[in-house]
Structures are given as C-alpha cells and as structure tokens.
Symmetry: C3
Subunit: 342 residues, 3 copies
C-alpha cells in the first residue's frame, strides 16, 4: 500500500476548485484542522470550527470563499467544502488490491457464473444459479445463494450472506456480517401453534446503495423487498419483508422497519428509530433518534416521539404522573368549568 501523492494545484484542477497560496505543495493524506500535518489536507465546513483554522498546520484547507482571508495556509475554495473534501479524501483511501479471479479455497458451484474480472476471496461459497458481474469484489467468507446476482463493481467487504433471490445493482457496498434475503417473519396461528408462511419473494437493491455491518434485510413473502438506488443503511438495521425504501434515503444505526412499510425518497431515519408495518412515509420525512412511527406520514418534515432525559430521581416522579395524565386533564377541565360557572 504505497502512499498516494498529489499537489494542491493538481487537486484544484482535478476537482474544479480555485486555489490560493502555494500550489506546488505535495499532499499525501487528510486530517482534522487540529491534527493535520503540513503534508495533509483538511477542511472547514461548520463555522463552529473557524477558530481552529487560524492555528492549523495543514498543508491546505478546503473552505468557503469567505474564510480565505483568515487562512494561514493554502486554500481550496468550494461552494460545499464538506462535499469537496469527501471527494478529495477518497483519493487517500487505500484498500489493499483484490486480485482478479477465484481464491483456491473458495467453493464455486458449476452452475454459478463469475465474471473473469471479479475477485472472489478465501472461503467464499457461490451456489448454483448465482451471478457475479464484472469487477465485483467479494472479500473473505461471503456466501452467495441461488438466484442471487452481485452487480458490477459491487464490494462485499467480508462475511456477507445473500441467502436466495437477492439482486444487488451496480457499485453496492456491503459491510461484514450483513444478511440479505433471509426469511421474512411470517407466521399464521393454527389453533395452538404457529405455522410458517413460506417466503417466496426476493430482495432487489438498487445501484450505489450501502448496507452496514450486521444489518439484516429479509426477502419478501410474495413480492420483493426493495431498496431503490443510493439508499444508505448504517449498521445493525433490520428491514423486514416487503419493505420498500425510496432512493437517497439514509437510515442510522439500529433503526428498523416492519413488514410492508413504504418509506419515501430523501428520508432520514435516526438511530434506533422504528417504523411499524404497512405504514407509508412521504418523501423528505425525517424521524429523530429512537422515535417510533405509529401512523403514516403524508407531509415532509421532522417527527419525534418519546419523553426526555432527566436525573432518574426526578424522572421517576414525572413518569409516575404520566400514568394518570388522562385523569389530571379531566380534573383540569372540571376546574375550568367550575371557574367559568362562578
């Protein structure tokens, strides 16, 4: 993993940015304003950190036009410094090369199709009927079940399981421990015991989606579970059968969506938030952390549930009152009536 090097001028040209200061400086990495060395690039996006700019030792800083005058070092000017930084920083992410071809310890069924440009890591198991497209990278111990397709340029970091009837679009990134296409949780109660409903659908995941570590996405009962393109799921998320998630929606860690719920596009679901089954969320709905969505939401906006954090001794007194809130309101109304009658 050799070090990647680029000058400030080359960065300006490559990303269409205006540069100020020494364009010949060589950059070989990125860092925070407080921690970057003279050979590293940093960024200033949140004005809260503007005071750190004056003391930075970075070689160059990506910033808005308005901050250039205050910069003690070279500057790259961007309309959105965070986005520009994200693009530049990607240059310095060095994964070890993944050799094309199939590792000798991988088990590839005769009926599987693996593109010659794909990389299949140690211990992978590719079952009959699976398709691995051009340039896809499967790290160690991935399991690709029957009727599954891994699209071109996908990266399954390690230990990813696609159970059955799962289709990943192009450039999907899946982190370790994710399970996609497991049985939906479908049960019918037959007098005194449960009967399992077979889960005959699949999962379709659009281009450029990201699926976090140990996240689970069940396959549909009859129709498919669907993620449109550019959906971003953090770690330990649970997506139940027949959920539909619109493009560009992002969900934070430990959130969950119950069966057949439909989430719009450009939604943001906070950490450990939940959406009950069969609900619909419009586009551009934000749910704050740990909230539970119990009814469909038709209007864009931000929604919350829960009761706030306090020192436990106080909290207990208030929580005890919550259990009789309806009674208190009735007493309040009675007092108001009395007061009006006087």
């Amino acid at each position: 993993m050799s070090v990647f090097q680029i000058t400030v001028s080359e960065l300006a040209e490559r990303f269409g940015l205006v540069s100020h200061g020494d364009g010949s400086r060589v950059i070989d990495g990125v860092g925070t304003l407080a921690g970057a060395s003279p050979s590293q690039l940093s960024f200033l996006s949140n004005s809260k950190y503007a005071s750190q700019l004056t003391a930075t030792s970075a070689g160059v800083v990506v910033m808005r036009e308005e901050n250039v005058a205050d910069s003690p070092v070279a500057a790259l000017v961007a309309h959105d410094p965070y986005v520009a930084y994200a693009k530049i920083a990607a240059l310095f992410e060095r994964y070890p090369a993944s050799p094309q071809g199939i590792h000798p310890t991988a088990v590839v069924a005769p009926g599987a199709q693996v593109a010659p440009t794909a990389s299949i890591g140690p211990g992978c198991v590719i079952e009959d009927g699976a398709i691995i497209e051009d340039g896809a990278i499967l790290g160690p111990h991935c399991i690709i079940g029957p009727e599954c397709t891994v699209g071109a340029q996908c990266r399954l970091v390690a230990r990813v399981t696609l159970v059955i009837r799962v289709t990943l679009g192009k450039r999907v990134l899946v982190h370790p421990g994710a399970v996609i296409g497991s049985d939906g949780f479908g049960l019918a109660f037959d007098r005194d015991h449960w009967i399992k409903l077979p889960q005959l659908g699949g999962v379709r995941i659009g281009d450029d989606c990201e699926i976090g570590a140990n996240t689970t996405i069940d396959r549909g009962a009859l129709d498919d579970t669907v993620l449109e393109e550019d959906v971003r799921l953090d770690n330990q998320i649970q997506i139940a059968h027949n959920v539909y998630i619109g493009a560009h929606t992002a969900m934070a860690g430990c959130s969950a969506v119950a069966g057949s719920a439909k989430i719009g596009r450009y939604c943001m679901i906070g950490g450990n938030a939940g959406v009950l089954g069969h609900l619909e969320l419009a586009d551009r709905v934000n749910i704050t952390a740990k909230s539970l969505v119990t009814h469909s939401i038709r209007e864009p906006g931000e929604y919350s549930s829960g009761a706030p954090l306090q020192e436990s001794r106080q909290w207990r007194r208030n929580a005890a009152r919550f259990k009789h809130l309806d009674e208190y309101v009735r007493r309040l109304s009675a007092l108001e009536k009395d007061s009006n009658n006087e």
Copy 2:
C-alpha cells in the same frame, strides 16, 4: 429447481377443503390477489381486501364460505384461509437440494458424531463432542462447538454459530448470523475493575423453534437458558443468560430480554420491545413495539410504554413540559383545594 404443479382438486383433497369451480386447473405457484396469474393460487383472509377478489386473475383463491358467491374464479373454502394458505404455499417453496454427507471443505473433528443422513455444507466446523442428528441440514460456514447437539431435521441456513453446550430440538430453523451459546454478560466489580463470571450453563431450544438472522442467545451462568417448543424469534433479537421463554411465544425483530427473565407461553413481544432482568410475564401477555417492561406482569393482556409521535416542533414543547409534570400536578391539586375551600 423444477416447478411443482398440482390441480385445484388435488389441493382440495390434500388439505381437506371444499372446492368450487374448475377443479382441473393446474396451479404452479402462489401470489397476491392483485398479482397472481391464472396458474397461481391466492387467498382472501382480511375482509379489507374483499374488493380485490372481484378483479383477481388468480387460478384459485382460498377464502371463507361467505366470499364464494363473489368470486370470479375457482375457490377453496377454509375456516381460516390464512392458515390454509400457509400450508398450501409451503408446497411451492423450493430450496435447492442439500446433498447428504459432509462437504470436502468442512472440518469435522474425530470426536464429533454426524448422522449419515445429515448434510454438512462447505466450510462448516464441527468440534469434538458435537452431535448432528438424522436429516439435519447445515448450510455453508456453520460452526458447531463442543457439547452441542443439532436435532433431527434441523435446518441451519448458513453461518450459524453454536458456541458450547447448546442443544437444539427437532426441526429447529436457524437463520444466518445467529449466535447461540455465547457467554452471558456476567461481571462482578472488584474495587476498581471488572471480574468476569464464568458462564457454565448452556442453552436448550425446543422442537420447532425458529431463530432469526443475527439473533443472539447467551448460555446460562449456572443453569441453562431455555426456549420451550415452537418459540419464534425474528431477526436481531437478544436473549440474555438464564432467560426462560414459554412455548409458542413469538418475538418481533430487535426485541430483547435481560438476564433471568421468565416469559410465559403464547406471548407476543413487539419489535424493539425490551424486558428487564429477573421479571416474570404471565402467559398470553402482549407487549407493543418499543415498550420497556419494568415490572412483572401477572395478568394476560396488552401492555405499552412510551410517548407518541408528533411533528418535532410540537413534540419538543410537550417533552419540555414532561420534565416538570410532577410539579404541574401539585399545582393542579393546590388549585382544587383552593376551589373546594371557597
């Protein structure tokens, strides 16, 4: 995976149902009322969907007697159409065959016992003292530790880990990423640091249980963690050490039970609900999604906790008030006293 085909008359006979309409029609799959083709079977269970019946293109529909007159297509009459459908649909679930015997890449210790009719997939590791009974199917990458038994006809879909002293009954279905028999979380605080309590018990799981993807079930500290028969666990559930779950209880995704809690039979635990340690829940207790059970429950019924979802701007005002709820109630009581004294 050839297609399974059966006529409507054969279905009626096999499942003891009365049929109306063309009994010779060949059925090769199942679908929703809206989506099923003329060679597929559908069902009408929830009267909310009765209007879809009149427009269905399904070959035959499972329904109650009362709906037969409205059906444009052949009908199979069932007392509980959802249960009948579940049983019929199972005919059309086609897993690829799992060959008997041990895959050459599996590592089976000399002291392990594997029934000749069992199927041990690629990369499985079976340790000394493990027992795999008749007809059990272990998909790729399962790890079966010492003193573990996998009962007859169990199916471990893929990448399931039984750590140590775990016994699965017959026909237990375990989904990928599940970890059963990991250390319970037992710590003693010794002045300024933690000491670990060894976890010397095991896990016993009854016949016909189902364990979801990435679910974790810890082994007991001294006695065992126990699931009676037909317990159904969805994905990403956490069951701590020495928990006891009664037969036929079902838990939805991301729910959790803390150490030594005892859950009754026929309970339903909603998604992301939690039960604190050492509590007891009676039989037939339902807990709604995201609720936290903080005391034992002696009576059957439905229980909830939490505060409801609102537009965040409104929610913040109400949540701020919650922090002083006890004070408001005292003020209300004072006003009432004043009012009574007038």
Copy 3:
C-alpha cells in the same frame, strides 16, 4: 475435558479466605444455592436469598461473616462473596484446548506475522500486514484484515472480523459475529445524492476489554475510535466512528453510541440505551435501560428517559394527552392567574 477438583482448604488458601467446617471436602464444580450438589460450591451475596442457605445441599458456600452462623454446610468467608465466587468459578470453566499453530484450512498471507504460540483455527483468514501476538487464540472463521494487531492472550471465540487498522490490546475477549473496524457511516449530501466520506482512521481497544456477540465497532473517519482498558460491551452494541469510551465502562445489550460521543470512565449504560453524537458523559454516569441521552452530562449520577409501562388501553388515553401537554399547562397557568386575581 477432564473434571477439575480442589478441596475447600485449598480454595481458602488459594483465594485468601477463612474457611469454616469440613476443609477436606472435594469440590468439582459450582451451582446455585438451590441446585448445587455436595461436591459443588455456591455463594450467598444478595440477602434476598438468605433463606435458601438453610436448605442448601452445596458442599461449601462463599458468604459474608454474618451468615456463617446460619450455614448448614462449610463456609468460605469473603468481604464481597460475589467477587470471590467469580474468581473461584473461573477454575471450573473448561474450554477445550486450542492447539498452538495454524490450522491447515486457515489462509495466512505471507506478509502476516503470527506468533508461534498463537492458535489459528479452521478457516481463519489473516491478511498481509496483520500481527497476531503470543498466545492469542483465534477460533474458527476469524478474519483479520490489514494493519490489524491481535494482542497477546486475546481470545476471538469464533467468526470475528477485524476489517482494517484495528488494534486489540492484551487479553481482549471477542465473541462470535463481532465486527470491528467497519466503515463509519459518513455521508455528504451533494445536491441530489450521497457521497461517501472515506473512513481513514482505525480502532484502538485497550487491555482486558470484552466485546459481545454481533457487536459492531466502526473505525474513525480521521482519528481513531477508542475503547480504553477494561471496557465491557454486551451483545449487539453499536459503537459509531470516533466514539471514545473510558476505562471500566460497561454497556448492556443493544445499546448504541453515535459518532464522536465521548463516554467517561466507570459508566454503566443500560440495555438498548442510546447516546447521540458529539455528546460528552462524565465519569460514573449511569443510564437506565432504553433511555436516550440527548445532551451532555457533566455530573455523575443516574439518568433516565421514556414513559412507563401500562395496560395498553390506559396507556393510549395518557399518550393521547401527552400530545397536548403544553396546552394543558398553559390552561393550568391561566386558571392559577384567575384564581390569584379573585
């Protein structure tokens, strides 16, 4: 796995405890007061169980001085019986031996360094640049990525993934399914789609930490994610990028910490509790189960959020009132004003 045997007198000497009664009794295991046999040791720590002491059949019981008079069997006296029991019980935890060396099915890259005293289990994958130190035990199917170090005497039980740039200190215990060093969830919104921020930091985990089954710990965006020594994480915990957790903090199952939050030392985080990003918690802060920490906490103590469990019918009435709480308080204040003006 032969049985370990030791006399009561030997236990007293080894752990510096005073014994009463028959010191020659041979002990070969541990059990509960109610369940222990005459060859087993038990303990009495919580006075709630004092009545079980008089009926115990244990061979010896660890207890406080004050309980000795009531003991029908031999006693070992300890200031903290639970801690003394934890240390003694460890004698009886018998893992099967892990042979030194590399299992023939493991895949070890030529540029990896594996100590000759380490044990590398079946199917492990050790990548170039990884270091496995003296006496470390890797159970089956562990994946150790580039620039990762597994410290001396660590135990990775099975199927643990260290993705990249992860350093484990000495004696770290990691349970199956844990993923450490996965990408932090960092996204920048570029007009109409997401851009991923490369995650260039690592994870540093101190000596004597424990990481539960299916827990995920993301690597930092620029700096590292850090756990100081003796941090204890239960199952299914999510630690986001750049989180910092102080020494001796313990977190219960399904809890989560969002990006860049800093947790103090000796904190206790309850099951399914959450901490929002960029917050700071002082030392010795306890958070009760399912609480959400939405602001920094400067003072030690116990903190809670949420609304309490009730029978659902009652709960629904109270929850409906919560949605108008601010209005009720305004009405209460108006009444008070009226009352004062009279």
